[in-house]
């Protein structure tokens, strides 16, 4: 429960705002310095989930986190979202603490499960963040109409989530994440549960949406082609304890726009191979553990 969140004084938020204004102008979307996370396991055993993570995500940059299952990539995203706290190191979001960024609603978030509220219509689900932050009804409704159009669900605003397919539900979740036009989008395998065709279609749509909104994105995935297709940089994590093994720059000369043609290009294939090599470590490393 987050009881303390509501009890911030006016004075607090004023100083925060001033400090934020001074820092935030040129601060990167995410800056992690030597970040580590240790979970307390059973009987005092400790599990090191992340170690020495140094990562900067620039404003408007799309960064994919990829790694074998259990490498801590979701944990890293949860630290940025302030859903968990790092046990060591320093993590800032737009120059503020992760907690402050969460309280200021600087990011939008989408999970592997769509996580829609089944008793609310699609439109009410998209409006949830706005409603929580007391945005007026008319403004809410205008924004949700806009977002429904953006994710191609204009005709489904009054439906309930369980009347939609998995792909459509995920699109609603993305629309919800975009509701407050955040400068940072955090996505934890949002397409993980979708079939390949829907998935590629959604990737295309996401690339389009990101180009349109100009938000920075931290995108957790375990699919190499997905990471390469979407990202400006792919961060490859090692198996537990999660460390950054390599950061692959994905630059496609000539075309900035990510369309279906990109998937057929040589540049795409070479980036895929590069990420795959890093992911599997040395040539003799065990390739198991990457479910792609």
């Amino acid at each position: 429960m987050t009881g303390q969140d509501g009890k911030r004084t006016v004075q607090d938020s004023k100083t925060d705002q001033m400090a934020a204004a001074a820092q935030a102008a040129d601060a990167p979307a995410v800056a992690a310095v030597n970040v580590g996370k240790v979970f307390d396991g059973k009987r005092g055993a400790q599990v090191v989930a992340l170690e020495d993570i140094n990562l900067t995500v620039a404003r408007g940059e799309f960064v994919s986190l990829i790694g074998p299952s259990g490498c801590g990539k979701s944990t890293l995203m949860r630290l940025i979202a302030d859903l968990d706290q790092p046990t060591s190191g320093d993590l800032t979001v737009f120059g503020k603490s992760a907690q402050q960024a969460r309280l200021d609603q600087d990011y939008g978030i989408a999970f592997q499960q769509a996580g829609l509220l089944p008793w609310r219509t699609v439109r009410q689900n998209i409006e949830l963040p706005l409603q929580l932050h007391k945005v007026g009804k008319a403004e809410r409704s205008a924004r949700s109409t806009e977002l429904l159009k953006l994710v191609g669900l204009t005709d489904f605003g009054d439906n309930f989530p369980d009347q939609l397919s998995g792909g459509m539900q995920q699109r609603v979740a993305i629309a919800r994440a975009l509701a407050e036009s955040p400068n940072l989008l955090l996505m934890d395998e949002p397409f993980g549960a979708l079939d390949e065709m829907t998935r590629e279609h959604m990737q295309g749509e996401l690339a389009h949406i990101c180009a349109e909104t100009g938000a920075a994105v931290v995108f957790v995935t375990h699919s190499i082609p997905e990471a390469v297709f979407l990202a400006d940089r792919v961060v490859v994590l090692s198996p537990r304890p999660g460390r950054i093994r390599a950061i692959v720059d994905v630059t496609f000369t000539g075309s900035v726009e990510r369309t279906e043609h990109l998937r057929e290009s040589d540049a795409f294939f070479s980036s895929v191979s590069e990420v795959r090599e890093h992911l599997h470590g040395s040539a003799d490393a065990n390739p198991l553990g990457v479910d792609n």
């Binding site: 429960m1 987050t2 009881g3 969140d5 509501g6 979202a81 302030d82 859903l83 969460r102 309280l103 609603q105 990011y107 978030i109 999970f111 499960q113 996580g115 509220l117 089944p118 008793w119 609310r120 219509t121 949830l128 963040p129 409603q131 929580l132 932050h133 309930f160 369980d162």
Partner: protein, 255 residues
Amino acid sequence: MKATFGATKGVIPPLLLGVVTLLLWQLAVVGLDIKPFVLPSPTAIGGQFFENMPTVWSNSLVTGFNSLVGVVVGAVLGILLAVIASLVRTIDELSSAVVAAAMVLPIVALAPVLYGMFSASQQTARQLVASLAVFVPVYVNTLKGLHQVRPVHRDLMRAHAATTWQTIGTVTMPTALPFIFTGVRIASSLAVIAAVIAEYFGGPIGGLGKSITTAAASSNYPLAWAYVLGSIILSLVFYLAVLAVERWVLRNRGS
């Protein structure tokens, strides 16, 4: 949740069973010459029921009102305390023993004691017994429902910096709602049973339970059964009323 009001197919078999049972009952009483103090025939009970309709009705109102007070007070207290228990772990742990005790306690057995505590000429003791009978299932079911919140929804509310009360209003209570309704539905007929039986142990004149004991004491068994029939109808009304509200609410919100 799909409502299935119009499913006549599901209604016919139990209806048929009821009619056959009544027929067999009637035949057995007449054919085997069973005396009314052992078991009156359905027609005799029905005759008494319709003959004494005004008194059955006025007594039903007394018991019905006691039960209604019980449902409202018990449900409100049950839901409220369950919400508090879900927020404060210590209360949850402290109350679990009390609730376990309340679950095995025959609550109507408290009636004579309560008649002593409150005035025996007032309905208070009966309403209190009904409230207690309602409280337990509502509390237990609500608390269970409040624990059903999915982790992804909890993360979502935290990510959006929702306050505790916003989280309860937008996620926790809606998640618990079907469980709360189950609790109230079970409790609604328990309330009538408790209110009727509490009347067996004394208290003011009036009420179906009181009328059953009075009629039985004067050996008017068909009349006693007519009042029993009245209590059955009363508790059925309570059950169906809650069921109707439940169906309506859950259908209108889509899940």
